[in-house]
């Protein structure tokens, strides 16, 4: 079983995820941000499944490891869909929704094919490594897509506070995770690196919940205030 610190971080994360869904319902924005809610509901379900595997098979078992990495891939895919839904909201008025979804699908298939290509050279590792490789690559693709979306928000002079803060928090989350995955590859012997991931996992539901609670759908901010330009 994991130590008390890990359990506290785990429970805090779950409480924050639940808080986001409850906040969305209370603020009558559940359907408006359905895919963000779906992601957190999936996270809650996955945490339950992981806990079952953990108690039944133990942390060092293969069954738990498979369950962990494959559910992680599922969650990364769900977050990818949530990101695409934010794209649809930003480009919604420009009627680009269909093209956004098609591009996202092609990008996803491309990432899966690339991950398979990397792993296929070693058939022995295929089953164990595909999920890990796909997650890692999707985090990086997610980071690039969030960066592009942020550029579009600035270009289109988007003013909706909620949307802006959701995208920025997602950018911080994707960047931090992509950095952690890269750091694990660079310095895997330092266990502290891998223990940073659960802490970072709490940041996204925390910032999204605060945004959902503090700002209404009508809140607006000036886009010029968001760019850190020095003159």
């Amino acid at each position: 079983m994991p130590g008390p610190t890990t359990l506290i971080i785990w429970c805090s994360g779950m409480a924050l995820e639940l808080a986001f869904v409850v906040c969305s319902v209370a603020r009558r924005s559940f359907l408006r941000y359905f895919y963000l809610n779906l992601y957190f509901m999936l996270v809650l379900g996955v945490e339950g499944i992981r806990y079952l595997f953990l108690t039944k098979f133990g942390q060092s078992s293969d069954a738990y490891r498979y369950a962990y990495y494959y559910t992680d891939t599922l969650l990364t895919l769900a977050l990818y869909v949530a990101l695409v839904s934010l794209y649809s909201r930003v480009f919604g008025e420009l009627k680009f929704g269909k093209y956004v979804r098609l591009t996202a699908l092609f990008l996803l298939l491309g990432t899966a094919a690339f991950s398979y290509g990397v792993i296929a050279q070693s058939t022995q590792r295929l089953v164990t490594s595909f999920a890990y490789e796909l997650s890692q690559n999707l985090y990086f693709v997610g980071l690039v897509l969030t960066y592009v979306l942020w550029g579009a928000i600035l270009k289109l002079r988007e003013t909706r506070t909620r949307l802006v803060q959701f995208v920025l928090a997602l950018g911080v989350y994707f960047s931090a995770y992509a950095a952690i995955y890269a750091l694990v590859n660079l310095a895997s012997k330092y266990s502290v690196v891998s223990s940073l991931a659960p802490i970072l996992g709490c940041l996204l539901p925390l910032s999204w919940t605060i945004t959902m609670w503090r700002h209404s759908e009508e809140s607006r901010l000036m886009p010029a205030r968001l760019v850190a330009v020095h003159r």
Partner: protein
């Protein structure tokens, strides 16, 4: 090689998103009109400067906490420290960066003052509710 590249790109974008996130927090409090009380307590007549930040943070610790303020203040506090680091290192070589960093620090201080104003209003509300019973 690839992992190093991903790491560098990720850290750069992390900083960029973090700075923009802090600015979006600060922007959401920019339109707030400060009450006379908070202006008297802090001694800030119209706009705060970077030097006021730490003093306002100390005043904030004296007020009952509002849970929704905590993470925003922590993020802006971290941003303020990063700006301090920029001022004491890179900005010494680029003078325009010094002005920019000072302007940003003033934004952080304004955010803290607005938070203080909200906390004072919150404490008053709580006291008024207790008085009713």
């Amino acid at each position: 090689m690839m992992a190093s590249l991903i790491f560098v790109v990720s850290v750069v974008t992390l900083l960029m998103f973090f700075v923009s996130y802090c600015r979006s927090l600060m922007a959401s409090s920019a339109r707030h009109m400060l009450s006379k009380e908070v202006r008297d307590v802090t001694g800030i007549p119209a706009s705060a400067s970077g030097r006021d930040f730490l003093r306002v943070m100390q005043l904030l610790q004296l007020c009952p906490e509002r849970p929704e303020d905590r993470s925003g203040l922590q993020a802006v506090g971290a941003y303020f420290k990063i700006l301090g680091l920029v001022q004491s290192s890179v900005a010494r070589l680029v003078p325009s960066l010094q002005t920019w960093a000072e302007h940003e620090r003033a934004g952080c201080a304004t955010y803290a003052v607005v938070t203080l104003d909200r906390r004072i209003a919150f404490s008053r509300e709580v006291l008024a509710q207790q008085g009713e019973y």
